[in-house]
Amino acid sequence: MTPGHAGPAVTPDTLGIDAFGGADPIFAIADDVFAAMIDGEPGHLRTWDGEQPAVEDEMHAWVDVDGAAPGRVLLTTERDTATRITRALLMMDAGESVSDEDFRDALGEVANVVGGNVKALVPDPGALSLPQVTHEAPALDPSSLLYELPLDWRGAFLRISLWQLPTT
């Protein structure tokens, strides 16, 4: 448990990450979301192979789960990848212009749906926040990182991370 944080400890075990017979439930959630909402078919998302690359022109989308052990589900990727995700969600053509409003809406919804499903893994969760989307990385204590899942979507890098938040 991170010093300075009150309340029950949130660990990969309490999140159930290691309790799925070797399958990663966070990956299963992300795979479902991408297959159903973004790709229309399974098979285009896999775990990132090798060292994580530097993320340039990064975008961050997240939702917070309130409750006894508050946490954040954060999606990070490059703007270009987020734009491709937006086009896929809206069934737009490659190269078609994406409005900033749609871009933020789409990336936020991906974080929202992943977060809503991750919430189901958390013991005694509270309310789910509305999604936030920013260019700047949200301020988070590095020691509060609970779990990180690097992903490869059609050759592009993205990362889902789970963070413990201070109790109020």
Partner: protein
């Protein structure tokens, strides 16, 4: 048949309507960006079914459902939301919702869930 799709995300409203059409529901769709907007539209649009997100600013989906029932509006109501916990399903049922579909969804899930209520 007219359906009022309520979600604060325009992208999600588009995906919901697209998936409903993929499921074979060739209905008329009207959209609301929030529970309070949906509540205002009910009188003029007179939908046959309301499909709503749960977590929205201004007015949540469950508050929309409560307000409708408090007004004597018994329009059939279903949730399409990113959360599908047992507690939320029980609350939705207790307040009179027909069903709760958790995101992500597919056309098959829509058919399996909605078809029984169309008979």
């Amino acid at each position: 048949m007219k359906v009022l799709v309520t979600d604060d995300s325009r992208v999600m409203r588009q995906i919901v309507i697209r998936t409903l059409r993929q499921a074979g529901y060739d209905w008329e769709y009207v959209e609301a960006s929030d529970g309070s907007v949906a509540l205002d539209m009910l009188g003029s649009e007179e939908p046959d079914l309301v499909l709503s997100d749960w977590n929205m600013p201004e007015m949540t989906g469950i508050d929309l459902l409560r307000a409708m029932r408090a007004n004597g509006d018994e329009t059939p109501f279903g949730f399409i939301t990113s959360e599908g916990s047992t507690e939320m399903r029980e609350l939705a049922d207790a307040e009179g919702a027909l069903f709760l579909i958790a995101k992500p969804f597919s056309a098959e899930v829509f058919r399996d869930t909605i078809d029984p209520f169309l008979a």
